[in-house]
Symmetry: C2
Subunit: 158 residues, 2 copies
Amino acid sequence: MTSHHDITANAADTVQADHTLRGFIGYVMKRCFNSVQADLARELEALDLRMLTFSALIVVVDNAGLRQSELAQALSVERPNLVVIVDELEKRGLIKRTQVPTDRRAYALTPTAAGKELYHTALKVVQDHEAKILAGLTDEQVRTLRDALKSIQKSADG
Amino acid sequence: MTSHHDITANAADTVQADHTLRGFIGYVMKRCFNSVQADLARELEALDLRMLTFSALIVVVDNAGLRQSELAQALSVERPNLVVIVDELEKRGLIKRTQVPTDRRAYALTPTAAGKELYHTALKVVQDHEAKILAGLTDEQVRTLRDALKSIQKSADG
DNA sequence: GATAATGGTTATCAGGTATAATTATTATCC
DNA sequence: GGATAATAATTATACCTGATAACCATTATC
């Protein structure tokens, strides 16, 4: 590339301007996750799903009858934020809210037939995406990666 | 905990409700990064910095004189979104916008004395945070983690 | 010199995350 | 058994991040 000849612009030509930041795993992880998230969002768009609506659907199908508070806890989403997600899935006819007979405050979430069907196709999409982003790694590396992420989260959660 | 006796609630008691999702590295990474991000935000709050303002400050100090577009590219932030970040750092007297003599459209970003000072204290805070979250890992594991994240990002950006 | 491209800006929007407050219901405890 | 506390879901709100379109001034291209 062309180099600047004034003394102020001494960077961004040869070395990476964010060299210091790249020393931090947190920064590398953020950049990595942003790329993964953007790519997955593109692929889920075909199914009109986002990461969160996808995740919620998976958990509801796997745990038919769980309550909203349980779903919120499973996904680490605050209850207020989960409401709109459940609203969206219900509006699309993928899950249903049904009263829990033993607790009239709570709603049990159950998937519809359409929800169960989308579950399988969406799972396939995400599995393919996962295979794509892990293509350059060995099973051993992936195992180390997974363990490391778990360890880091534990430390960060204190 | 207490178990439900109606047939609908068959989960979330013994097994993890998000078991399927935990099979995905993307999901594990999201959960991990959220924890790291939240923890770091708490620690940077004392310096009145966020991850993005911190990152921008670091890059400007390391690359005095770079232009906003270069900073945006270095951080993978869209130019419009960078404006408010530069505004904030400038308003706080941490960096300065100065006209580039050879290109009157562009601004060269340079740190002030206060900016350089905050650079060092903030870097210390983040380094400590980094040490904390990596405490459970060996150097070898961290190296594998870093390489894996880079590989994944490359595949996702593909 | 007309046209295209670039640097910075404004405006706007969608999405994710967090908190406070409200209502209805259930659990606790004196 | 009745007052009080806790819980499930909701509404409203706010902040941060990320993305896009449109604009102005300036520079590069042809």
